[in-house]
Every structure is written in C-alpha cells, then in structure tokens.
C-alpha cells in the first residue's frame, strides 16, 4: 500500500488552477524529488501535502487516511526558513519539540533539542537569534526543527536553493546522511536536476502551469551511497540528467510564443549647441518600429 497518495488533486487561488489533476504515490522510506520551474506550484503542492491548504478537488491520503490539516507526522521545511526571529535557535526548536512531545521533562527536552542542534552542527550557535545566522545556518536550523519533531515524512521545499554551491553540496550530504540513517520518507523540491539525481530514488518533473501537473517519474537506479565526484562521469547519471533536462526544456519550448509590439523610439537626436534654438515641433518625429519578442 502506498504511504502517501495524491489523487486527482486540483488547486486554484481563485483564477485558473495552479495545479490540475496531480497524482502521486509514495511508498514508505522513499526519497522523491520534484523538479520544476519557478512559480509553477511546487510550494503550493507542498502546502497541500502539509495540510496548510485544502485541495479544491481530489484527495490526499496518508496511510489511507485523508489529510485534513497540518500534523506532526508531516514535517515541512519552509522554502524561506520561517524561523521566528524573536526566538534563539534553541528556542525555535524547543517550541516545536514542546508541542509534539508535551510529556517530556525539561531535562529530556533540552537533551532532545541539543541532539538535533548537534545533528546539523550548530551547537556553537544555539543561543543566537536567526538574524545572527547566515542563510545556510538558518536553513539547517529549519531542518533541525523539523527533524526534531520526528515526522514520518519530510517535506523539503527547495531547502538549498538560496545557498551557494559549496554550502549546498555540504547540506546535500547532510540530508543524504540523515535519510540513509533513519530512512524517512522524503519529498524534496528542487530546481537543480543534479541535486535531485544525487539524492532521490525517483525524480518527478512538474509541468508548466497554469494547471501544472506531475509528469511521469524517472527512476534513479544509481547505487548508494552516491559519490558526487564520480557520479558526474557515470553514463547512467548523464543519461538521466539529459532525459530530465530535455523534458523540462520541452515544456518551456512548447510554451514559447512571440508577441509583436509597437516600439516607440523617442526623439533622442543629440542637441547641437552651435545651432540656434528653435521652438516648434521636434526636428525628428518619434520613430515607430515593430518588434518581435519571444518569451
């Protein structure tokens, strides 16, 4: 039986649907990556799974039971970190732990929080406020906060997109290690095909909106643990990467249209200071051209 299932999910924000007829089925312990262009509904999809949004039609089932709202079984790592700026790293995580494990004693809770801060290697910064952290550190806090809630499924919404390539690689390794060590079900949203292939069991492209939907998944049969340095040269990796890239490029190619617009060139003849000043119409009228722009 599938662990998480989306059936014919459609969502709009009033206008044309952002997502249309999305179907997805995950088995427990699976790592799925969703790749797609910006603004096509990836965050919307995550919010639906997390229960922050309700689908207009279709259903989302977790272990066969419909999702009715947010719950501690689904841990969402927000695209923009969403740490509370008035709480320190420790307090941010503690707030989550308190509400998920209300029975813990203060000492147990402190230990629990410390463990997850250590897991993302931030013990030295536990007492800092989010504004005193770098982007990558904030992202790690955000991941630690979610992991500390011990969710059954991790929803990672472009957790690394805002980071530089080096930090990104380090955090990819951390995510990979965490996943290998406790085999949680993970959905990772990313804009990087390489990242998706490095981490995931399956990569699913999201088509272009409005009315975006998930395309057919690409199974990544690369052995684990994957090594970034050798991965780049493996024929299978290259094949998968070009396949997915072509799929994505295909969407944007089919959407390419040209519009023709009127382009008005203003009268910008340089002023000649030797000429006597004249009033009256400009010496050269505005020039009107047609311009073709492809988007």
């Amino acid at each position: 039986m599938s662990f998480l299932e989306l059936r014919h999910v459609t969502k709009s924000f009033g206008g044309a649907p952002v997502l249309h007829d999305v179907n997805l089925s995950l088995v427990e312990g699976e790592f799925v990556a969703i790749v797609g262009y910006s603004g096509q509904g990836k965050t919307t999809l995550m919010s639906l799974i997390a229960g922050l949004l309700k689908p207009d039609s279709g259903e989302i089932l977790l272990e066969g039971k419909p999702v009715s709202g947010p719950g501690p079984d689904r841990g969402l790592v927000f695209q923009n970190y969403s740490l509370l700026p008035w709480l320190t790293v420790e307090e941010n995580i503690s707030l989550a732990v308190e509400s998920v494990f209300p029975g813990q004693s203060a000492a147990e809770r402190a230990a629990h929080v410390a463990k997850y801060i250590a897991m993302v290697k931030l013990s030295h910064a536990a007492d800092r406020l989010p504004r005193q952290l770098s982007g990558g550190m904030r992202q790690r806090v955000s991941v630690a906060r979610t992991l500390a809630m011990n969710p059954r499924i991790l929803l990672l919404d472009e957790p690394l997109s805002a980071l530089d390539a080096l930090t990104r690689a380090t955090l990819q390794d951390e995510i990979s290690d965490i996943w290998l060590s406790d085999k949680k079900t993970v959905i990772l949203i990313t804009n990087s095909v390489d990242e998706a292939l490095y981490l995931a069991d399956r990569v699913i492209p999201l088509t272009l909106g409005p009315g975006a939907t998930l395309a057919s998944p690409v199974t990544v049969d690369l052995p684990r643990p994957r090594d970034r340095s050798t991965l780049n040269h493996e024929p299978e990796f290259k094949r998968l990467r070009s396949q997915i890239t072509q799929t994505l490029l295909g969407y944007s190619e089919s959407r390419k249209t040209t519009v023709s617009r009127k382009l008005v060139l203003p009268d910008i003849l340089p002023e000649d200071l030797d000429q006597p000043r004249r009033s009256g119409p400009p010496r050269r009228p505005h020039e009107i051209k047609r311009e073709n722009v492809s988007i």
Binding site: S47, G71, P72, F78, S82, L84, W86, L95, V100
Partner: protein
C-alpha cells in the same frame, strides 16, 4: 578625537545655536509687535522660584516645577496604563476577527476624533458618585479614552500584518491557541504595538494639561491656568516650555523602548 565625541559636540553646538536664535526671535517679538509677551529675562525672573527649588511646597498651587510635573506624570501614568490595558486587547480583536472589525471599527472611527475637552465633562458625570474623587476619576477616564486609540489601531494593523509564514509555522508545529497567541502573534505584533504605545503616551500627556485646567487638579496644567489668572504671564511660557520638554523626554524614552523591540 573620536567620532562619537565629535558628533556629540557638533550636536550640542547646533542645539545651542537653535536655542539662542529662538531666544533672540522671542526677545525681538516682545520688544516690537507683541508687547504683552514677557521677555526671556522677565520669564526667567518669575519662573526662577519654581526652578531653583524644584521640589518646594509653599502652598497648594505654589510648588516647585518638578513637584508639579510629578503630580501630572502620576495621573498620566495611571490613565495611560488603563489605556494600554484596555486598548491592546481591543486592537487584537479588531485585527484578528473580521466580524469584530466590521461591527466595531466604525464606532472606533467615530469616537477617535472626539476632543478630550468633550470627554471630560462626561467623565466627571460618570464618576459623580465617587464624590471628592470625581474630578480625578473623570480626568483619568478622559486620558484613558483619548490615549487608547493609537494603541488600538496600531495593534490592529500589526495583527493584520503578521506574516502568513509565521502563522503557518504555528500551524505546522500544532501550537495551542495560547502558544499561538503569546509565542507568535504577540511578538510579531510587538513593533506595531510599541508605535501605538508611544503615540498614546504623547496623547496622554497632551490631555493631562487640558484635564488639569478644567478640573483644577494640582499639576502643570492647573499651574499654567492659575498663573494666567494671577497675571504672571511669564509662567505661562515657562509652563509651555516645561510641558514641551517633558513630552519630548517621554517620547525619546518610548522610542528607545520601541527600538529595543524591533524584531528582525
């Protein structure tokens, strides 16, 4: 010379220039067009007893200036506190509930522009039964109700401006209603609330003068009015300056508090 010290010196010098120019202008006015206006020297002469012995108590109205200011500040503090305690929850309700805002926002908008001079008689009537305390209670009522609005409105705006992201965090973490309120909504609204608190304090200080003039309760406001009746016009100016300086200090103190609560 280090930069902060230099800055301080420059600022002090500018302040001195400003004060001197104003004093010059004032002297010129009282020497030419406004013959009734006491000169700076004459003002200093009448105000001197109140300044050199700021805490003296020679009679009911004849007291050192800081003592008078103290009475006024005491009343302001009480009225202001009431304004915050009543205004903040109202602001939260207005911000949180569309229904509540629909019902009460028009009423707030109608009551807000009413002058303290209009509220005061009502306040005194309301507290008639408290006998000798009626004047004081009426004044408190007036301060509270006039000073409340900036807190109410700014809090409401702040609550509406809480980023959806923070609320989503609360929902994903499954926070209880209380935690949602005190761990997320209140801290997120705090900067707005403090702006409201600061404006409210300014209004409370404006109202106190009017309230004291009308009720005769001892303080800077009634001092000003009495000195007018006693034809000590210099002390009118002295009172105005005192009220201004105290108001300025209060505002500074509040903006220091405000900046401490700027989150992110």
């Amino acid at each position: 010379m280090n930069a902060t010290l230099r800055n301080l010196l420059v600022n002090t010098a500018c302040l001195a220039v400003g004060v001197l120019l104003s004093l010059g202008f004032w002297s010129m006015l009282s020497a030419t067009v406004a013959k009734e206006l006491p000169t700076p020297a004459a003002t200093w002469e009448v105000a001197k007893p109140y300044i050199v012995e700021p805490f003296a108590k020679r009679g009911e109205q004849d007291q050192g200036i800081l003592r008078l200011v103290g009475y006024s500040l005491g009343l302001v503090a009480k009225g202001y506190l009431i304004a915050l305690i009543v205004g903040t929850p109202i602001g939260f309700l207005l911000g949180l509930s569309k229904g509540f805002a629909r019902v009460f926002d028009p009423i707030v908008q109608v009551l807000r522009p009413v002058s303290p001079l209009a509220w005061l008689p009502l306040g005194m009537v309301l507290f008639l039964s408290t006998g000798r305390q009626a004047l004081e209670n009426g004044a408190l009522f007036t301060i509270a109700i006039c000073a409340m609005w900036p807190t109410v409105l700014n809090t409401a705006v702040g609550v509406r401006a809480i980023p959806q992201d923070y609320l989503n965090v609360g929902r994903v973490l499954k926070l209880s209603r209380m935690k949602m309120l005190f761990k997320i909504m209140v801290p997120a609204t705090l900067p707005y609330m403090f702006t409201g608190f600061r404006l409210s304090l300014g209004i409370a200080w404006l109202v106190i003068v009017a309230a004291e003039m009308l009720t005769g309760r001892t303080g800077v406001g009634s001092f000003l009015w009495n000195e007018y009746n006693n034809a000590n016009y210099g002390n009118i100016i002295f009172s105005i300056l005192t009220i201004g300086v105290i108001g300025f200090i209060l505002d500074r103190l509040m903006s220091v508090a405000e900046s401490r609560f700027k989150t992110a």
